[in-house]
Every structure is written in structure tokens, then in C-alpha cells.
């Protein structure tokens, strides 16, 4: 199994700093310095951003953060022995030491998460254990008896994705407003952004997470904002066509669907005009390109799609002075984590991408001088079973997640890591974990750091109060 050299990663990180610090004539350095200066000259200098990294398909939390005390580890190996490559040898796991010990156990990360290990050890990453969708706290007996309200359609991708992203009061696909969008609605109401168009940005198509009641989301790809050819240049015969197109794309529409379609087009035109001048370029003179990652399965260097998405985010963040924003919420996605099959290979590749991308992005934010002002957090439809089918795992519920950034009280684990083994208190069967921390608590802790008041948080997250008198988790200090 391919194990990345910890020191090599360190080297790459410091090398990139060195290259920026060394050559005084580097245009990137000059650009970033002036960007940082410009940002500080903003009327509202405390810029903050949240970045949601959604692991689409259900990331296997059991295989991501592993308890390595003898009992836990033995149970882990026993449970995972049914599928090849999932019972990681102890020697390959990446040990981590918590500042605040938990339940007398030791922990390690998946062998392919060197990037996260680096961040964790530097105090810039924290683990939030056994987090998942809940309406109220629930025990196994209550779940089996259906005696408490539960999110709808547990174990369904579509619905649990919606539950994570929309904090359904009733769960599932009934809700249409994502909590990121709801936060954005409030932010815009607080006038923290002079241009609300750039509050919510997705690099993965339309995300429920960013869908607000009044705010809407833009999406942006690594290619940046694309102009409409027919408007940018004369259309076929000449300027008459272009003028007509302009008119037609802003005409009054009677049909509801035509009307809404036109709204999207107009947004695109406005956004492109601003982003084209503000968004930093990729590569030299802008945001450095990410390195390729070494795919453990094919042993080839390949492009890291999550790093590319995060680079796009960084390019927009770097251009924030021209966007009129002090608060932004981003959504990026990495998939497919639905590893029913071939989990050993697929998960290795995905976690390599995840770890390296998180480390790369954190480095970018630090170099922009806002390393404490951007917080990245993972999310996923659900975790997975502890026991396996013959080649992978099936849908679970609670899972472990990472929060990354300078403002994070890192090198620690929040929430309760479950007891590993069959028929444990939180095991609904086959190792499907009943979450002991809710997505509401996770989201509320992030939202508080982001600037919402307690009252506003309880509006965005109606079930927040179901989780104790102080549901905040403490990972943001």
C-alpha cells in the first residue's frame, strides 16, 4: 500500500511558501500583498468565509477516523475482515494525538489522509465525531420503536443529502431551503455584503445547501465566468442581432418557467461582468495551481478535482475586494463516496484527494493572510456500515467529519466517538451509527463563528434547542 511521505508533504508546503517569500519580483507575491492590503482597507475588514466540502455518496467514517486502542481496533478489524483491504494494518494508520484525551482511547486517521494529519497536528483541524441528521437525540430503543421523530428516509442518498444540507425540520426532501442559504438570507439582511450576488457560490452545480429563501447561489467552474458569445461579439450578421439578443434576454415573460429561466440568464450576465475583472487567475500571477496527487491504485500522478474546485474558491476569495462582500459561503463537492464496491481502492483515491486538497487550500488561505478567517468543513449524506458486504460497505448514518482553518480549536475531537463493536449502544445494526451529535449542532457552531446571534441561529435551525441547553460544540472556540 502506498504511504505518503509525511516529510514530503511538509516540504511541498514550505516550498510553496518559500517560493513566494523568496523572489521579491514574483507577481503573485505582489498581487497577494496588494490584495491583502486592499482587503484590510475594506470598510468591514473582518472578512469570513465558510466552505462546505460535501463528500457525495456517504463517506465511510469508520474507515476515516479509527480508534486504535486494542479493544476498538480489534473490533474494527474483525468487522472489516469481510472485504479486502479495509482492515488497515496498524502500521499504516496515521496516529493522531488529541490535546484533550477522549475516553482513554487512542486514534488514528486513514492511511491516505496525510494532509489532514498535518493539519491536525498543526492545530488547524479538528474532528467532529459521530455527527448525523437528527431531529431530537435518539437512543437505539427509541429508533427501533419509532417513538421519537426521526429524519425521513434514513439511508436514502437523496433524502439524507437534503437533510444534511437543509436541516429539515421534518427531514428529507420536503425542505427546500439549505442552511447555508438561510444564513446567507440573514447576512444579506444585516448588510454585510454590498453585493448579495456573490454571497453564495457553488462549484458543483446547484446545491441545496446554498438555496436560500431570498438569496440565490452562483456557480462557478475552474474556467471562470463565461460570457455569452452573442452578446460579447456581433451575432452572425452584425450588431443588430446582438442588440436584439440583449432585448430578448431581458424581455417580460408571461410563463412562469420562462420568467425564472430568464432570471438565471440575467444573473449570469451580471456575475460574469464582475467576476471577470475580480476573480484572480489560476497559476502564475494569481492563485498557484495545486500539485497532482499520486493515485494509490494506478500509481499515476493525476489531477485532483477537489483541489481544482478549492482553487476556484480561492480565486474568488482572493478577488473579494471587487465583489463587495465580507461574508461568503462556498460549496464544493467530491464524489463518489458511495463505496458499495471496491471500497479499498476507491476510498484510498478519494481520501488522498481530500487530504491533499484540504491542506492545499488551507495553505492558500494562510498565504493570503486570512488563514484564520476561512473555515472549511466536511459533510456527507451519511456514514456507512461497519461490517461490509464482500467488497465494500453499505449506507450508514452517523459519521466523523473534519473542520479546518486557523480559527478552529484544532488537534482535538469533539462529540463522542462511539464504542466499536457489534450491538453497541449506538449501533443500529451492521455498525450503522445513531449519531450522538446532530448536524444542527455542527451547523450552529459554524454559524456562530460566522457572525450569527444565538437567536438567529435558532431561527435557521429550528431543532437546535432539542440538543441540550448549550448545543454549541466548541470547536470554533
Amino acid at each position: 500500500m502506498c504511504k505518503h511521505d509525511h516529510t514530503r508533504r511538509q516540504f511541498l508546503r514550505t516550498a510553496s511558501f518559500a517560493s513566494m517569500a523568496g523572489v521579491s519580483a514574483s507577481p503573485f507575491l505582489i498581487g497577494l500583498n496588494s490584495m491583502a492590503a486592499m482587503a484590510q482597507n475594506n470598510t468591514a475588514p473582518d472578512y469570513k468565509a465558510l466552505v462546505c466540502v460535501f463528500l457525495q455518496g456517504g463517506n465511510d467514517g469508520h474507515g476515516t477516523v479509527i480508534a486504535t486502542d486494542p479493544d476498538s481496533y480489534a473490533a474494527f478489524v474483525q468487522a472489516r475482515s469481510g472485504a479486502p483491504g479495509l482492515a488497515y494494518p496498524m502500521s499504516e494508520l496515521l496516529p493522531i494525538t488529541l490535546q484533550t484525551p477522549q475516553s482513554g482511547r487512542t486514534f488514528a486517521l486513514n492511511p491516505y489522509l496525510t494532509g489532514v494529519q498535518n493539519l491536525f497536528n498543526a492545530g488547524r483541524a479538528a474532528i467532529v465525531a459521530n455527527t448525523g441528521t437528527l431531529i431530537v437525540p435518539a437512543t437505539k430503543a427509541q429508533v427501533n420503536a419509532s417513538s421519537v421523530p426521526l429524519p425521513d428516509s434514513l439511508f436514502s442518498h437523496f433524502d439524507q443529502t437534503a437533510a444534511w444540507q437543509a436541516i429539515a425540520s421534518n427531514g428529507g426532501s420536503a425542505e427546500r431551503v439549505g442552511w447555508g442559504g438561510a444564513v446567507a438570507d440573514l447576512i444579506e439582511g444585516m448588510n454585510m455584503n454590498s453585493n448579495s450576488m456573490f454571497t453564495c457560490i457553488s462549484t458543483a452545480g446547484i446545491a441545496l445547501f446554498l438555496s436560500g429563501q431570498t438569496s440565490f447561489q452562483l456557480n462557478c467552474t475552474p474556467a471562470g465566468p463565461i460570457p455569452i458569445g452573442g452578446l460579447a461579439q456581433p451575432l452572425f450578421g452584425g450588431p443588430a442581432g446582438t442588440n436584439a439578443l440583449n432585448s430578448i434576454l431581458s424581455a417580460t415573460e408571461a410563463n412562469l418557467f420562462a420568467q425564472e429561466y430568464e432570471v438565471v440568464i440575467q444573473r449570469s450576465i451580471q456575475a460574469q461582468a464582475t467576476l471577470a475583472t475580480s476573480m484572480l487567475p489560476a497559476g502564475a500571477g494569481g492563485v498557484p495551481n495545486p500539485t497532482q496527487f499520486l493515485d494509490p491504485t494506478s500509481n499515476k500522478l493525476m489531477d485532483n478535482p477537489l483541489a481544482a474546485s478549492l482553487q476556484t474558491v480561492a480565486r474568488i476569495i482572493g478577488g473579494r475586494a471587487g465583489l463587495g462582500v465580507t461574508r461568503q459561503i462556498f460549496y464544493v463537492q467530491l464524489g463518489s463516496f458511495d463505496t458499495h464496491n471496491n471500497q479499498a481502492q476507491l476510498h484510498a483515491t478519494l481520501l488522498t484527494q481530500l487530504g491533499e486538497a484540504l491542506e492545499y487550500f488551507d495553505g492558500l488561505m494562510t498565504s493570503m493572510g486570512i488563514g484564520n478567517q476561512v473555515t472549511t468543513f466536511t459533510a456527507s449524506d451519511f456514514g456507512r456500515t461497519l461490517t461490509s458486504n464482500s467488497n465494500g460497505t453499505d449506507h450508514g448514518w452517523g459519521s466523523h467529519h473534519f473542520v479546518v482553518g486557523g480559527a478552529v480549536q484544532g488537534q482535538n475531537m469533539y462529540g463522542q466517538y462511539p464504542v466499536i463493536g457489534v450491538n453497541q449502544a449506538n449501533d443500529l445494526g451492521a455498525g450503522r451509527l445513531i449519531p450522538t451529535t446532530s448536524v444542527d449542532q455542527y451547523a450552529g457552531t459554524l454559524a456562530k463563528w460566522f457572525g450569527l446571534s444565538d437567536g438567529q441561529i435558532r431561527t435557521v435551525l429550528p431543532n437546535f434547542g432539542n440538543f441540550g441547553s448549550s448545543p454549541y460544540l466548541g470547536f470554533m472556540g
Binding site: L154, I206, I226, F236, S388, H395
Partner: protein
Amino acid sequence: MRNRSGRLYTSTRALVFASLLGVISLLTGCSNFSVTNPGYFAAISSTATTIRVNQQLQIVNNAKITGVPLTFYVNGIAGGNAELGTIDSNGLYTAPAIVPVPNNITITSAATTHPEYPPGSLALGVLNPIPILTSVTPTGFSEGVTTVTVAGSQFVYGAQISWNGTPITTTFVSSTQLVASIAAPNPGTFPLLVTNPNPGSANSATAQVKVAPGQVAFQLQPQTGSDVRVTNSINFGLTVTGTNNTGVTLAINGVAGGNAQVGTAVSNADGSITYTAPAVVPKPTNVVQMTITSVDNPAVSINQNISVLNPIPILTSATPTTFTPNQSATVTLTGQDFITGATVLMNGTQVPTQFGSATTLTATVNPTESGNNFMDLQVQNPSPGPANSSDLIVDLQSTTPPAMSLTDASRFLQQATFGATDADIHNVSQNGYQSWLNAQFALPPTTIEPGVEQAVILNSLNPPCAASDVKCNAALFVQNSSDENYVQNAFWQDALSADDELRQRVQHALSEIFVISGTNASVQSMPRGEANYYDMLGTDAFGNFRTLLQDVTLNPMMGQWLNMLGNDKGNATTDPDENYAREVMQLFTVGLYQLNNDGTQKLDGSGNPIPTYSNTDVMGMAAVFTGFSWQIPGDTTEAGWSNCCQYVGTGFGEELLPMTSYPDHHSTVEKDFLGVTIPASSNPDPNGDLKIALDTLFNHPNLPPFFCRQLIEHLVTSNPSPAYVNRVATVFEDDGTGTRGNMQAVITAILTDSEARTTSAAVANPQYGKVRESLLRYTEWARAFSAQSRNGGYWLGSTEDPIYGLGEMTLRSPTVFNWFAPNYIPSGSSIWPTGLLGPEFQMTNVTTVVGYLNYMQGAIGANATSGPDVFASYGTELGLASTPTALVDRLNLLLMAGQMSSTLEGEIVSAVGAIDIPTGDQNAINAALAARVQTAVYLTLASPDFTAQQ
């Protein structure tokens, strides 16, 4: 080599100098001659001042006194020695074998009996020998880098081989052997010689060494086939191996570079070759031969046949435009690119035609009374590459009134096809919906798998596989991730040109419900399998839903996509994979919540929706879907359980057969699902269990409303009324003959329902209709204008890129939830507060709306010689371009079923009219007319008006 007589040498030198003076005085006749004069007794001279090793030189005795014997010294050593050379008593000096250091020696002579007399002396330089080159091994070699051994003699350490005048690094092996590495990039004959170093550097004789050309090999890769229409170009990739000189010369039919008659060929900077066809098909044969010859080795060449095809005719107008049945009439047709031998088609049948010119034909038509009020005229250019123009519809006076208006017919066809032509619209208008539906139901399906197989074989870079070579066939068909574009091109060919339009539209909708995708590596590696899955949906689209459900469940592509293939029964540590069990319920049959027959959700006592199934049901059903894997006919060893790719070859393969059952791997535990219990058993019965499970799903009360509502959403409107859903679901349950699941009946019910057909109600309701997904907008354009493939292969590939494509492609959605979910509501929009659904908005974002506009701009602007492979000639539209209102009216009918707002119409008419039509130059006129048409078409397709299908 030290000179032991160094000191003596120095003083001897002084003597030499002195003696020289003495000699001079002697010659000048100075009379002071005495025995003490130097040279008197021992003067010596020689004919040379240098000598090569081993050579001999006779020292001349120039003493004045003869008969005095002399003793000779070399560097003061009597007789010399081996290092400095020896000299005998007669003064014969033999140079040493190796040049001494320093190489100047002094020979001195002294009178033997009078050693006190001044000696004679002379200096000699000893030089390296002249090298002798005997042989070069190898005597000749191919271009490239070769290690060469030069044999000969008299090689001295430091000798250098020169190749083609340039010294090269040389390894000294011995005095008879040198070795060097020679880089010879070009063939030819080159001089090689050896040079010994100083002192006395000298060259050997020159050997002429022949360098032969490398083993040049060509690989020619047609990029879009080898058929090309006149004036068009096609490209061939060319790979040259075996030489650094990759230059080629090109000839067409033996003519270097080609000419205006046979077409021309040029090499591009990247090594590819572009052939441009002539303006007219060459005679006597339309097949030209392109010969590619290596510059490096002109003996190496390959040939490629290219078929030059006639152009596609463009029909722009006809005179007259009204005809009477059973009356013969002469019609004059105007257009472009008519070829001698072109025929006019009346309703698809050839009629007597007279060729006028490239722009006019006349024909005699005698239409029969057929109940149709229109006639469809086309021009057909002859072979090679016969092609029809688009249709020109002309009026035929008829006694039978049309069944409906043209706009209603157009609106119907927008719901029922990928897009309709003028002829289709007239057909439905005249004959009614049912007649069209009946004809469509009777058409056999067009299939794409055979064509995909052919394309994969033809375009393989490897030699054809022997039938028995399983490894070769497996690599070609089931381990081949590079050929998915043939599936895509085949899809486009059928979607854009085949006649089974209704089946294709339903097939496409089914592919958005029963999703598989080439984004799954296993599916992508089996292009025939992917194509075959799609064909299965098409075949079953007009059958029974129960058959469709079974065929989907057992298809190995679906098996790989949702993990049913190879799903093993559970044991102590593993459970069966639940993926297919969950999705077959959630997405394919019953959905998440219990439904009334009208598609509305049932609610419990507290007003909450009621789940259709629980996780227990999923686990129970997952146990049913165990023990199915690859089918290998005749196999008794269970090899197919875990091992794909053993039964594969041209025309057959595991990936094309339904999965088969492996009882040993089928779960025998009790299985509970949806109120059904299959008891535990010691006898595994995979097929029996499967039948029970699929029957249960098929008979579930949720299925009719769940499935029918989705199909309505894909075809007609995003928000059907519950009553509409109920009417269709009722037909699903019983088609009138007691049969459940009759797809034809369901399709008919959907398309003929008043809620689909009543135009006035639809148009008056701003909440009626749906956003056309981008792929359907594209196909509407392509079919309306009879778009054709320039090279015949519909080389569009995947259009999934959101920036450079349509943001959508069949069989390529990123997840099993298709490009948009059936219940999606766009939040933050004006639709959201209404509670209405807008599924297609899930793929509508600021990137994809721009991607669509830019892609369509490129597609619309393509023509016979440039742009994407699929282009439209806009025959009839060109004929209307001089009258913008008539042009836009036509687009309104074809693309928007007459629903274009007057504002939009005004905008487009203005923009079109602003493009001037020049006079004089016909090419400029044609270009202006084309620009008018393209502008009008683009503005229509770009308008948000068009985006909504009402």
C-alpha cells in the same frame, strides 16, 4: 621518458650552435679552416627534420675528412636506445616505436678516434604515426545512433574518429581498434576517418560509410472516416515511427499534392494530413487514392482511399406552390448544389426530372388524391453519397379537411418526439394524432448496438482479433474505455435522423428514469453493453412495464452500475449489497411515499406522508437480488460468477446477455419486503424469488401514479393536475383489456389527454408547461431543419460539458438521480412560493445557460464546410429570408408551435431586416441570406420564450 643525458645535451647544444657557425664560415670560404672547426671531422646532416615513429633515416656524413669513422649519439647516448631511437654506426637512425617526451631528439656525431674534435649534430622531431584505417564495423548501418568499431593500425592514444567532418568522442581500445558512438540522423554516405594526435597529427584514409534509412512505419488514423463531400476537408492523423525524419510527400492519384480535379492534400504542422475534396466529384471514379511517402525512405509508402461524395442539395423554393390532385404539373425548383442526375422527390417518390443547372431543376408531378392537403418536395442528388435536401412543403388542394391546425400538430410533436419537420407537422395536421401514433407504434426500433460494434472494430488500431482469441476480443469490447464516443455518435445519428421518433423520445425519457451512466468505469469500458442497454429501453418502450422492469433488473450494465451483479448472499460478517434493492424501489417503481392514484401523497392521521418502505424492506429485497452474474452460455463451472470477459467476440458477448442465476450464491434466509414473505428455504431459488419481488413491485398500487407522473413530466408538463395523473394511472392499471402495464396505452393516454392537447388552456396558464432540457432544445433544432452529418458519422460525442456543450448527455448523468430529480423545486425563485415543481431547473445555472447559448450559436452557424459535424442547410428558410416576417412565421411554427409572442417576433424581424442583402455577387447574396436565417434561428432558440414548452 627521462633524458638521462640532459646536461650533456645542453652543452652539446652550445656546440651545435658553434659548429653551425663553423660550417657557415667554411662555406663562405673563410680561410680559417682548421681541425678545430666544428664539422671538420664529424659534420652530419639529414634530409628531414622530422621522422615518424619506427621510421628510419639515414644520417649523412658531411665530414670534411673522409674515412674518419664516426660514432653516433642520440641525445648523448651512444647508439641511442629504445625510447629515443637507435642509430647504428653507419648513421642509420631508427625512430622509436613511441614518440618520446619531449619529442625533439638530437643526434650527434663524433669522430670515433678523435672524440675531442667538435661533433656534428642535428635535431629531429619524432612524430606520431599516420593512422591506418582498415575497416569500420558495422560496414553500414541504419540511421539512428550506432556503436561503431574502427579497426586498423597505428592508432595512438588520443586518436579521434571524425564522422562527416566532425570529430566525435572516441574510445581508444588499442593501437588497432577504436570505438565510437555515431549519431546519424539522416541516411546517406558519409566520410569517416581517424586522426592521430600531435605531434604530427595526421589523418588516415577516408572510409565512406553508408547509412541506410530507418525502418520507417506509418500509422494512418482517419479522424472522421474517409468519405468527404465536394469542397469539404477531412483530416487524418499520421504517426511516423522508425526515423527522426518524419517528413512525407503526398500524392492524390499519383499527382504530387493533388490538384483541382482530384482534390489536394497537405501536411499540417502537427503531422496530420488534411485532404480537401475538389469542387466536383472526380471521374471516372469518385474514389481517389492518397499516397503518403516517406521522405526518409521513399520506398515506404501507404495508400488511403478516399471517397468523394456529391454535395447535399439545398432546396429553397418552388414554383408554383399550389397543386391540384390528379393534375399533372410542371414545377420549377430553385436552390443550390444540384448535380446532374438529381431527381425530384414527391412525397419520397422519384418523379421525372430535368436538370437545368446547379440552381434549378424542373420536374413533372402528378399527385394523387390521398387525403393530404400538402405535398412534400425534395431534391435528391445522385450517387456517390446520395443525399436529400430538406423538405419543401407545398399546398395540395384536398377535399379532406385537416384534423387540426398546423400549430396544434407542432405542439403535439414537441411532446412526442425529439423535434419535428414541416412534413411531420403537415402529416399530423392532416391525419390526426391517432394515425400518427399508430404508424409510430408499428415501426420497429432502430438500434445502435450493431453500429457501435462495427465502429469499435473498424477504428481499432490493432489487427483484427481472431475469433478464438478471448484476450484480444475482451480488450476490444469489454475492457475498452476509449470508445464510448461511438455509443454517443450512434445515439445522435438515430435521434437526429431516424423515423421511430415517438419510441426514441420515450426511450430517452426512460433512460432518465432507469438511469445507467458511462461515468461508471465498468459501464464505460463496455461500449456495446452500454448501447445494448439503451436499445433494450427502446424495444421495451412499447411493450409491457413488467418486461421493462425485468430487463432492466437483469441487464449487466445495470448490474454493474447498482451492484446487483455478483451480489453474494450474506454470511456471519457480510450482508448483501442493498444498492439495487433501494434504488429499484425509490427511483424505478414505488418511490418514497405512498401515493393516491392521482399522484398526491397519502397522509397519516397527523398529516404526514407515509413511507412506502422501511430499511427492513430494503434488506429483505436485497437478499432477493443475490446470486446473479454474467451469463456464459453452456458454462457449467460457474466461471461467470466472478469473471467477466470470457465469452466475447464479434456479434456476441457476456455484456449483451441478461444476467443469469447462480443458486449457490443466492440467499436462502427469510426475505420480508412490502408485506410479502419468502420463507427461508434450503433450496435456493433465485429466479423464483426474483419473480416474486418484481411481481410485488409491479403490482404495488404506488407504481402507476409514480411512474405515470414522471413520464408526464418528461413529455408534457412539470405539474400535471392530479386528475390527469389519475386518468393515465388508470390506463396503466388496465388498458381496457384487463392488462396492467401496457406502455403503448399509457403513452397514448398521456399524449391524447385533454390536459396535454388543449392548447388554449395550456397557453393561457402561466404555470403550465416545463423547461425544455437543453438536449431536447438541441434536437428540436436539428430535426426541424433536417440537420445532416457532414461526414456521415454524426461526430458530436458527448455534449455534457456545461461550458462548451449542452451540460447534458444521454447515458452520462453524474449519479443515478439523472440530470434533474423529478421533484425538484428551484429555491430562491419565483416558482418556489407556488409549490410547483420545476425539475429541469436543477440543471439550469449561471454556467449551463451560457454554455447552451454558446453551443447553439456554433451549431446554428455551421454549414457544409465548417463548424461542428452536424449542420443544417436551411433550404426552405433561405427561400424565405428576403421576407423576414415569413421567415419568422415559419420558425414560430417549427420551433414554438405558433406561440411566439408578438414582441419576440418583432424583435427578430427587426434584427433580420437589419442585415442587408447586397446585389450582384451571388456568393455575397447567399452569405447575407444565410446570416439572416442564422440570426433568426438563434434568436428564437435563445429566447426564454422558447425555453418553456407549453
